[in-house]
C-alpha cells in the first residue's frame, strides 16, 4: 500500500511517499506565491525519485497551514494530528511533540496510540519560530546555519526580549552597539526563543519522552537552549522537517485501509 503526505508549510512544501509505514522518498519545494503548484512539484519529484507514478498512490493527505490549497490531495489532517501520528511512530514512548517551523511553534500531548490529547500553538507572532533566527542572523551578518555553532562558543548569554521579531531585532542592534560579542548575542537569541517555546510547552506539561520536530530542530543552538530550559532530554528524528508530511502519509495509509476494509 503506497500513500503520500504533503505538508504545505509557510516557507516550504514537503512531500513524503511511504509504503507499508516506511518512507520510500521525500522531497521539498519552496511555497512561494503558489503553494498549490509547489505541492504538485514536491510530490512529482518524490514520486519520480521512487520510480512511481500518481496512479500508484492510494491516498494523499495534506497538512500544514496551506493544506486546503493542495488540490491533488484526497483528505486533510491538522498539523498537530500529523505530528502526533508521526512522532509516536518514530518514537513509541513520545508523549510530548514539539514542532518548531518557520513561522509557528506548537506542542502536542499524545497518548500511546498517537491520539492527540491536548495542544498549544504560539501566539500570533513568529518570535518563537524559525523566522526569528533568520531575522536575527541578518542583523548579526551571520549565515543562518552558522548561528547555532556560533552560539555554542558563548560562556554566557546576553539578554534580549523575544516578544516580537521586530523588537527583538532592535534589542540585538542595541547589543551590537554595546559591543557584546556575536556568540553571546547568538546564544541570547536561542535562549529567548527557547524561553518562549518552553513556557508554551509547560502550559501543556512536560511529559517525557519529548520529541522535537520541524526545520528548527536542525539548529544545534536552539536545541541546546531548549534542552537547558526544559531540563529533559530531547529526541530528534533524522529528518525533522519532514515529520508533518510523514504523519500525513501515515494518516493517509490509515484512511486508505479503512476504505479498503469496507
Amino acid at each position: 500500500m503506497i500513500t503520500a503526505g504533503l505538508d504545505l508549510g509557510t516557507q516550504s512544501v514537503k512531500a513524503v511517499v511511504i509504503e507499508n509505514g516506511k518512507v520510500v522518498s521525500r522531497s521539498k519545494a519552496f511555497s512561494g506565491f503558489d503553494p498549490e503548484k509547489a505541492a504538485e512539484k514536491a510530490l512529482d519529484k518524490a514520486l519520480k525519485d521512487a520510480n512511481l507514478s500518481m496512479s500508484d498512490v492510494g491516498h494523499i493527505t495534506a497538512t500544514g497551514s496551506g493544506m486546503d490549497m493542495a488540490t491533488n490531495s484526497n483528505s486533510t489532517v491538522s498539523m498537530m494530528g500529523a505530528d502526533a501520528k508521526a512522532g509516536i511512530h518514530l518514537f513509541p514512548n513520545a508523549r510530548t511533540i514539539i514542532d518548531v517551523g518557520a513561522e509557528e511553534a506548537r506542542a502536542v500531548k499524545c497518548d500511546e496510540n498517537g491520539i492527540m490529547m491536548d495542544f498549544v500553538v504560539n501566539e500570533r507572532c513568529a518570535a518563537g519560530a524559525g523566522a526569528f533566527i533568520e531575522a536575527m542572523a541578518r542583523a548579526l551578518e551571520v549565515e543562518l546555519e552558522d548561528m547555532g555553532p556560533l552560539s555554542l562558543k558563548a560562556e554566557r548569554a546576553s539578554s534580549i526580549n523575544a516578544s516580537c521579531v521586530i523588537f527583538g531585532e532592535s534589542d540585538v542592534v542595541s547589543l551590537i552597539h554595546k559591543q557584546e560579542s556575536k556568540p553571546e548575542i547568538a546564544r541570547a537569541i536561542f535562549e529567548a526563543m527557547a524561553d518562549r517555546v518552553s513556557s508554551m510547552v509547560h502550559r501543556l506539561g512536560v511529559n517525557p519522552d519529548v520529541v522535537l520536530v520541524g526545520g528548527v530542530a536542525r539548529d544545534i543552538g536552539f536545541v541546546t537552549s531548549l534542552k537547558r530550559k526544559l531540563g529533559v532530554d530531547i529526541l530528534i528524528p533524522e529528518y525533522p522537517e519532514y515529520v508533518g508530511a510523514f504523519g500525513a502519509a501515515l494518516v493517509a495509509a490509515k484512511r486508505l485501509k479503512k476504505v479498503q476494509e469496507k
Binding site: 491538522s78 498537530m80 491520539i115 490529547m117 498549544v120
Partner: protein, 442 residues
Amino acid sequence: MKKQSKEKKYMPEISQKEVQELRKTITTTSQQIITENIKKMKKTDPNRPKAMKYFDEIADFTKREKEIRAAKQEGKKVIGYMCLFAPIELILAADAIPVRVNSGWYDASKLGDRIVPVEVCPMVRSTIGAKMIALSPYLELSDTLISVLTCDGMTKLGEILSDFKPVWTMTIPRVKDTEQSLRLWSEEIKTIKGQIEELTGNKIRGKQLKSAIELTQKATKAFRRLQELRKGPPVIMGRDAMLVNQTYMWDDIERWTEKTEALCDELEERVSQKNWACPPDTPRVMLTGTPMIWPDNWKVPTLVEEANPQGILVADELCSSERLLFDPVGVDEWSMSDMLNAIAERYLMASTCPCFTSEDGNEDRINWLLNKIEEWDIQGVIYYVIRGCMLYAMEYIRVKKVMDSKGVPVYYLDTEYTREDVGQMKTRIEAFLEMLSARIDL
C-alpha cells in the same frame, strides 16, 4: 445628581465629512456581513427551522431600529446598557425600552484606537469607534446609558461615552456573598430606579413592576425551553440558538418570547421525527469566555460549525448568549421591597462574570461549566478570549485544571477584532475538533 459637563473629556474632533465616509463604508460592510453570516448559517443547515426567519429579520438591525424610533416619537425613552447587570425589569416597568449597546463591529475597533491604546479590549475600542461615527442604531437611540462598573474596560468605556450621553454608573461589588455587598447593590438598584423614574417621568409602581417581572420570567421560560432542547441530539445548530439568544438584547421582549416558543414548538416536532440539524455523532462543543457580539464577531461559532471535521455548539457560558436569561427573577411576595430585593439578588448572585472573586474564587462559573458539561453532554470546551480581556485570560488556568480533572479537553483560543486571523484560527479549531472526533472514535 451632578450635572455632566459639556466639554469633551476624551473624544477628539473629527470632521463631519470623515465621519460620514467611515459610517457609510462600515455600514455597507456590516450589511454584507449580516447577509453573509445568515447565508452561511442556512448553508450549514439547509433544513434550518422555519421559525428562524423571524430572528434573521431582527438580526438585521433596520426593522427594530424603525420600531424604536417610532416608539421614541411617541415619547418613549430608550435606556442602553453595556453589562448584564442593568435591571431590565425596572426599565420595562417605567415603560422605557432596554437595549444592549456593545459593539461587535471589527472595523469600528480601529477607530477606537484613536482614543485608547490597542492593548485595550477590542469590544471596548469598537464601542467607542461605533459612537465616533454613529454606527450603532441602538447606541444612537439611547437617551441614557447604564454603565455597570464590572471590568476595567467597561468602567472606562462608560466614562468615555459620557462625552456624548448621560451615563448612569452602577457600582458592583467584587465579592457577591457578603451582607455588605448585597446592601450596596440593593442601594444601587434603588438609586437607578429613581433615575429611571426621573428620566421617563413614570413612577414605577408595584403593578407595573410585577408585570415587567412576569414578562422577563416568561422570556426566561422560553429561553430555558430552547436550551433544554439542545441537551439531546442536535436539533438546532449552535449559531442559530446563539442568534435567538442574542436578539433578546434589542428585540421587543414580549414578541421575542412568543417567537422563541414558536421555534421550540417546531424543534419539538423535529425531535419526534428524529430530524437532526447535523449528524448526532458530531462533537459537542461549549463556548466560554469573552462575549461574542453580532454581526462581525461571529467568526468562532462559524468556524466551529463549518469546520472539517465539523463541531456543533450545544451550550455556552457567554454574557452575550446563555447568561442573558438563564436565571429568572424569583419573587415570593409581590411587595415593592420584595420585588426590588429579588431583582438585586437575581442580577448579582446569578452572574458568573470573572469580575467577581471570593474565598473560593469565581466558584459559580466553575459550577455552571460543570453543570453544562454534565447535562449537555459536552465533549470539548473552547475558551475564547479577545486580547485585552484580562479577567477571562486570568481565569483560564483554573478552568483548565477543573476540565482536566474531568477529562474534558479545553482549548484556549485568543483572537482580536479582526478578520485577518481566520485562517490561523481555522487551523486551531479544526485540530481541536479532530482531537475530539479521534476521542469519540476510540
